[in-house]
Each structure stands twice: as C-alpha cells, then as structure tokens.
Subunit: 207 residues, 3 copies
Amino acid sequence: MTLTFIIDILGTVAFTISGVLTAMRKGLDPFGILIIGFVTAVGGGTLRDVLIDANIAWMRDLTYLYVIIGSAVVAVVLRKKLSYVRRSLFLFDTIGIALYTVVGVEKGISAGFPPLICIALGTMSACFGGVLRDILCNEIPIIFRKEIYATACILGGIAYFLLLKTPLLVDWVVVISGAIVITVRLLAVTFNLSFPSIYNEDENVKL
Amino acid sequence: MTLTFIIDILGTVAFTISGVLTAMRKGLDPFGILIIGFVTAVGGGTLRDVLIDANIAWMRDLTYLYVIIGSAVVAVVLRKKLSYVRRSLFLFDTIGIALYTVVGVEKGISAGFPPLICIALGTMSACFGGVLRDILCNEIPIIFRKEIYATACILGGIAYFLLLKTPLLVDWVVVISGAIVITVRLLAVTFNLSFPSIYNEDENVKL
Amino acid sequence: MTLTFIIDILGTVAFTISGVLTAMRKGLDPFGILIIGFVTAVGGGTLRDVLIDANIAWMRDLTYLYVIIGSAVVAVVLRKKLSYVRRSLFLFDTIGIALYTVVGVEKGISAGFPPLICIALGTMSACFGGVLRDILCNEIPIIFRKEIYATACILGGIAYFLLLKTPLLVDWVVVISGAIVITVRLLAVTFNLSFPSIYNEDENVKL
C-alpha cells in the first residue's frame, strides 16, 4: 500500500463527506445523498484517469466504493457532531483538494507528463469533483466564488516540483505540498485574502 | 441483433423524445431541439463507454444517429399528439432510465466488472443524459428534484443481480429489472412517495 | 506543421480570449481568469480526443499550454483595447467555433469515421468549451440562447463534405467551411435571424 494510495483514499473520504454535507443541506433523500457523495469523490479522479488514459481507479478497486459508502453512512450518522465543527463543509473540501492535487500530480508524473501538464492535471482532478457537486446541487460552482481555490492547487503543484529538486524524500515532498494547498486556502479564507479582480468598474469596460 | 441492442435503441428513442420535449418547451429552434435530443440520448451511453474504455456505441454504428434524427423529427411532428399524453416528458424519461440502467449493467458485466460497479455504471449511464439535458436547458437537474429517480435505477440494478441467481432466463432478468425501475418511479410519483430528507429543520443544523 | 495544427492553435487563442473576457466580466481573480481561459480552450478538443480515443492534444504537446497562458496574459493586458472592439467576446467565440468545427471534422475523418459522425464530432468539439465556460461562470449556456450557434457548426460541417466532392484542394475546403461557420453566425446575429421556435404559445401545448 503506497503513500499515494493512502492519500487517495483519505481524499475520497474528505470529498464524500463534503458531498454528503452539501446534499443534506439541500434536503436530498438518503440515496441522493449517497450519489452526490459518490460523484464528488470520484469526479476528479475519473477525469484524471480518462485524461491520462489509465484505468479508472474506483472501477478497478472496490475499496473506493466501500470507503465512499462507509464515509457517507458515518457522515449522515454524525451529522450533528459535524455541525459543531464550524465550516465543516469548507474543511473537508479543503482537505479533499489538497490530497487530490498531490495524487493528480503524482499520477501525471508516473504517466510521464511534463511538470506543467502535471500541475494542470492535479488542479483539474482536485477541483472537478467539487464543481460537479455544486452543479448537481444547483449551487454556484465553488471555483467561481471569490475565494482562492484552484489557485491553492496550482501553488501546491508548483511547490511539489520545486521541492523535488531539494534533497527531501519524496514522501516529505508529498506531505509538504499537500500542507501548502491547505495552508494557502485556510489563510486566504481566514484573512479574507483574494487576488484583486482585474476588471475595474471605473474603467467602464464594456466587454 | 441482441436483446441488449434492441433495448439500447429503444432507450435512445425514449431519451431523444424527452430531450426534444424539453427543448421545445424552452422555445429552441429546430437545430437546437435536435442537439438537445442528441445529447440526452447519447450522454449516458458515452459516459458508460468512456468509463469501461469501450468503443463509443453511437460513433461506431450509424443506427443510433439515424434513430435519433428520426425520433426527433417524429416527436416534433407529433408534438400536439404527445401533448395529449399527460406528463409525456416524465414517461419517456422514465422509460429511458429503465432501459439504460439495464444496458449499463449488462455492458459492465460483459467488461468483467463486479456487481457493485455494474450497478453504479448502470445508474450513472441512465441518469447522465437527463442531467446534461437539464443543465443545457437551464433546468434544475432532475436528479436533484425531490423524487425517487436514481434510486429507481439502483434498485433495478440490485434486482438484476438478485434475479440472476434465480433459474430465470437472462432475457427475463433484463425485462423484469427494467420493469422494476419503471414501476418504482411510477409508484413514487403517483403516490408522491419519497424518502424522508435526513436534514431536519428542527435540529437547526448549521452545516 | 500542418494547416490543421495551425487552425487548432488559432482556435485555442480565440477560445482562451473568449474565456478570459467572460471571466474578467465576472470579476474573477488572475488565476480564475487563467483557468476559465484554459477550460474554454481545451474543453472541446479534450471531449473530441476522448470520443475518438486519441491522445489528448494539449497533454502531449506543451505548445497548447504556452499558447493559452500567453493569450490569457495578452488578453488581460489589452483588455481596454479589446473593449473597443464591440462584442469582442462574440467575435472570439465565433472564430473559435469555426476553427474547432473544422479541426473536429478533420480529426474525425483521420480516425476513419463516416461524415455524419464527423459533423457531430466537429459540432460538439466546437461548442463544448463555450458550454463549460458558461456553466462555470454561471451564465446561461450560449448554446441555449436564442441565436444560431451550433447550427452554424453543423452547416459548416455539411459544407466541408460537399466541398470535398468538388475539385477544390483540401486546404481550400478547410478555409471555406470555416468561413461558412463564421458567416452564418455573423449574418444570424447581425440580421437577428433565427429559426422559428417550434413551440407555439397559441397551440397551448402543455408538455
């Protein structure tokens, strides 16, 4: 069992819970909740595996499906406990994108793609599940809201390749780049940081 | 010509008509209607074939495209007749998901996947066309509305594998599981059945 | 460097700019703008390559990513200049669908598909990037708005195959069919042409 596999499973847990929380908030029935949890969890990895033309992870290994069903049940049972954790949806979503960014980058490297492609791949696989979740639940896609989101993934991906050039062991590179994604997003939301919008009202640009 | 192929074509007809009815209601022009009918009909099967890494059915066999164009023309010509059938959109959509669930499960089995994956595959291929139709037509995705929808597909998929263990011929297993999907959805909508929402307003859960 | 590759790159430029303009209008931050530009540019081609089971162009050739990043930077820097071009979003989107229709048709032919499939492929790959852009930016998908859009791609695709039967060189067939897509869309919008909606309010059709 490799570190990448463990991280992939942890990301699956985090995204399943984020999907379940969104679906419960929308008042979906138990099967609807399970399906949104499933789609959120497998969306990014499926896109990644289709793009690199690899076997789709959750279709080849039932572990993923068991983990998704288990996480969904636990999230539903513990929903009151989860509600004490303020911004629990935000937390699980953030953990999810951090873990999937790293897994996406690693799978891209294994498949022989250059760094720039791997960073794009990590970012897309991290963000796609959450985008699907939001579209299916009729929310504004999270990637569009004015927070640093995909940016955190891109920075984590860049960090991965910079750290690879240091004498650090790969396992540490993995852990640190994931931590960077989480830290960037936590800092951005905590201190309400965001890049300035390029579009300037005063310029009266009529696009 | 196998039973699976016949069911696939009938599902294509049903989904094309459901797409055409949605597009007409939205006031699209003839080409827009054709495209929505096409996307609704091929969406689920394309997702299924990409996931199991098979040749995409409609790209390898022009029958699908002829059937889609023919069904779209007939649906437009008979639109007044169709309007006499109350809830015709509901009916064709329900027939579509029933047929595509069975086809999805069967293609999953042929490709050597375990039952749980086949059920997920059948459900996704049944629901994806309708989700695309609704997103493109700016409707709330049907899977999100508070009716039993994907649940009917999951139950049909489970029934398929249970019936396989009986001495029934496979053709009967196919027909009965498809009928179960239709029956579950018809009963659910007729009697306004739905699973209770897990989210309880009284609990005052702030997710 | 083939004509198809050049057209593909020009289409990438046009779609990147259309994505950047939409994202800037929505007030996204610089990374969000880059991502929407990227998704708009690669969306259609990725769908096309997945459908014909070919290597995904932008993942095999870094040229695409460099062109996307470069175009996005230029579009942001020149945003005031672009705003002088009335309906610049409309223009770049139109150029994009014209070029991608032709590339899609050509790649379909190379992969050995029959004309009808190639036309569907060209139309889908031309429209998909813009649909993704609009969904992510929470706009009504452009394909749904009451203008001739996908229709222009279908007509361009039909023209391609009709022109192939003339003694014209293939390069001219490519250029003329692309010009037809642009012309049809320009004429449609300029003269407010559209196909009549089939759904007639007077018929009081209750679908």
